[in-house]
């Protein structure tokens, strides 16, 4: 894992001091709430429906046990005993008091954490594949570039007041687990024909009210040029992005209005200028310095197959089901990555209480080289577990209520906080997720339905990623009554696509029924090992629309 050097540590300390001064000015009445707002937002502090919410950055979703324990401490001491892991691999605390925020930031700084640029119209926390450094299909560990981008973008003097927020994601594998095509900039680590390391750069993706997939603006950007290239994209956007309408201010609108070819031409022209100047050349030594922090942990030499695990699976069906669903192959023989579902049946997606955070920290310290990941699907990962230890890990997770075997299944639902917390929301999200989860609780039925990604947003801002759900659910307000629009066919993976609305919006108490209807159509039409997404792509929307209209005519 990356560790702060004296420069990084000082930067975060000075930011805490600056923000503490801003809070003091606010509490003393020297700043109005209006004036304080942009300042607090730059540090991840929102004013929600009921209270302040603090969003803490977890860069590229990587945490140590010590950091996770500190998050548990903060949840206990300053919140109501829990935290909420988000689709941007961050954690949110929903109930901090304003006067406590400086102390929370101090506590975070002690473990090399912060809330810098988790909000505001700046370059936000960088996200990456949660299996980074462990996945067998990886070309390059995406955390190295992500950390380089984190530093370059931190307190960027030119790009801290952009037209709108700006999100960058990096994948190190051809199989995209970082959803790069729906980010403002998406980066894939690649190799060219000569075997040299470089990056394919996409720009202009996003969700919200105008969902768009990003276009490629750089086929192969060499490693030492990557920051210069990113700066070129940022400058074109800062200068030309729309500022007259916040709903049209994201880079996706600029790319759409200019056209992908013209955007690429402008980026290339700007890149040539920056490159000629040379100031942003990334030194090889700096890449190597950061790379060294992400060196593989001391893996043991193990057989690929674990007899201990095999015996445990044979005698314990629940464990076998967990292994079948929650284990991801590791690049080192004898190891596996373990996904920890934060989607217990009927639970709140992404929530974990302090005791669970401590339990995960303990298990990671003992069995996963002290490492934990947060996924953009609101789950956790223990990246490096010996297959021989899987049974013990499963038992420890079970004891903490964290062994739900549903990764990628119908109950592994993404949901935004919705109207229960958020002052932008039109409708609740959490209760809808709970209804669906309860309805499809039967594990055998879940397994029969296979990979099925349901994503729920409580408003058009799409924090719950509904556009890229195999089934997407969007909460809307119709004359004061919560309704839900259902879409099918979205994907955030390497086969990225945006879902299409199928049928009339339904009321909250009919959503689970509508999902039943969709699943029935899928089961009637599926062939071979097709997922719902595959069947939908093959047969089209019509059969689903017909049944939904028939079932939900009012």
């Amino acid at each position: 894992m990356y560790r702060y050097d004296e420069f990084d540590a000082r930067m975060v300390r000075e930011r805490v001091a600056e923000f503490s001064g801003q809070v003091a000015r606010r509490l003393a009445g020297e700043l109005s709430e209006d004036e304080f707002k942009p300042l607090r937002l730059m540090n991840g502090l929102y004013l929600q429906l009921h209270a302040y919410m603090l969003r803490v950055a977890i860069p590229y979703g990587t945490l140590s046990s010590r950091q996770m324990r500190r998050l548990a401490d903060i949840a206990r001491r300053y919140d109501r005993g829990y935290g909420h892991f988000t689709t941007r691999q961050n954690i949110q605390f929903n109930w901090p008091k304003l006067a406590d925020v400086p102390a929370i930031l101090d506590a975070l700084a002690e473990v090399e954490m912060h809330a810098i640029q988790t909000s505001g119209n700046c370059i936000r926390n960088v996200t990456a594949d949660h299996f980074a450094g462990a996945a067998a299909d990886e070309v390059e560990d995406p955390r190295i570039l992500s950390e380089i981008i984190r530093q370059w973008s931190t307190f960027h003097p030119e790009f801290s007041f952009l037209p709108r927020k700006f999100k960058i994601a990096v994948t190190g594998s051809p199989q995209d687990r970082a959803a790069i095509r729906v980010h403002d900039i998406g980066i894939a680590c690649i190799r060219n024909a000569a075997g040299e390391a470089g990056y394919q750069v996409f720009a202009g993706g996003g969700q919200g009210r105008t969902p768009m997939l990003a276009h490629c603006v750089g086929d192969f950007v060499s490693r030492d040029d990557i920051l210069a290239f990113l700066e070129a994209v940022m400058r074109v956007y800062n200068e030309e992005g729309r500022r007259d309408n916040m709903y049209k201010a994201r880079i996706k609108i600029l790319v759409h209005q200019l056209g992908a070819d013209e955007m690429r031409r402008r980026v290339e022209a700007e890149f040539a200028e920056i490159k000629a100047q040379g100031a942003l050349h990334l030194p090889h030594a700096e890449y190597q310095r950061i790379l060294s922090y992400f060196a593989p942990p001391p893996f043991a030499d193990l057989p690929a197959v674990s007899a201990t695990e095999g015996a445990a699976r044979a005698r314990d069906g629940a464990f076998a089901a967990f292994v079948a669903q929650n284990i991801f192959p590791h690049k080192v023989p004898g190891y596996a990555s373990v996904s920890i579902s934060l989607k217990p049946i009927g639970g709140i997606p992404g929530d974990a209480d302090a005791a669970q955070m401590d339990a995960v920290a303990e298990i990671a310290a003992r069995y996963s080289f002290d490492e934990i990941r947060v996924t953009h699907e609101q789950n956790l990962v223990l990246p490096h577990v010996r297959r021989d230890d899987l049974y013990a890990v499963w038992q420890a997770l079970s004891a903490a209520g964290l062994a739900t075997a549903n990764i990628g299944l119908v109950t592994d639902i993404i949901a935004c906080p919705g109207l229960d917390y958020c002052d932008l929301a039109n409708a609740r999200s959490i209760s809808i997720a709970q209804d669906i989860s309860t309805r499809f609780a039967d594990p055998a039925r879940q397994r029969d339905l296979g990979e099925l990604k349901i994503k729920i947003s409580g408003c058009i801002n799409a924090c719950g990623h509904h556009h890229v759900g195999h089934i997407g659910i969007l909460g809307v307000d119709k004359k004061g009554v919560e309704h839900y629009q259902i879409s099918l066919g979205g994907s955030a993976a390497e086969d990225a696509s945006l879902g299409e609305i199928v049928g009339p919006a339904v009321t909250a108490d009919s959503v689970a029924d509508a999902i039943e209807t969709i699943v029935d159509v899928y089961r009637a039409h599926r062939t071979g090992g097709e997922r719902l997404l595959d069947t939908y792509r093959r047969v089209g929307a019509q059969p689903f629309k017909e049944r939904l209209h028939a079932a939900h005519q009012h």
Binding site: F7, M11, W152, F155, E158, F161, N238, E286
Partner: protein, 163 residues
């Protein structure tokens, strides 16, 4: 109120001249980009310093290079603090166009933006009455180190790490 300096350069004394007002007989003036383009010979013939105001949508890249060479001041408008185009314009003026005169920010901004403004090459501020010299010196000392090159010549952390 007089402009406040945020760099080592002392702000110059200029008089703003509206597009429809005659140029004064003597003294340094600030004119709009439109007037400069229309009356460049007359404006530069006065033998006094000339400044130009650029609205936030006006790129300094559009100024004819021979005009830029003769300008003593570029005023960048910040219509509201959220409009961050001026940061790019200032940096372009310094690092790409080689402008060595004064760059002044005018309009609406926060004292919490001063650190960034100085890094992008802005010398002086005209706007918020509450920004005192003390607030400026506090703001400029916010961060000891910087993570990226800008227009102020400061060595980034990356270069400091690797000598």
């Amino acid at each position: 109120m007089p402009p406040i300096s945020i760099s080592t350069r002392a702000p110059g004394a200029f008089e703003d001249v509206a597009d429809d007002a005659p140029l004064p007989v003597a003294g340094a003036v600030i004119v709009s980009a439109r007037r400069l383009a229309a009356e460049r010979d007359g404006v530069f013939a006065r033998n006094d310093a000339v400044g130009v105001v650029l609205e936030s949508h006006e790129s300094p890249m559009q100024l004819p290079p021979e005009d830029l060479q003769r300008l003593s001041l570029v005023v960048l408008m910040f219509p509201k603090f959220r409009d961050g185009r001026g940061f790019s314009w200032a940096r372009m003026l310094r690092t790409r166009l080689g402008f060595r005169g004064e760059i002044r920010a005018r309009g609406h901004f926060l004292r919490d933006q001063i650190f960034f403004m100085a890094r992008c090459g802005i010398d002086s501020l005209e706007g918020d009455l509450r920004i005192t010299a003390e607030a400026v010196s506090d703001a400029l000392a916010t961060f000891t180190h910087v993570y990226q090159p800008a227009a102020d010549g400061r060595r980034s952390v990356v270069l400091a790490r690797h000598g």
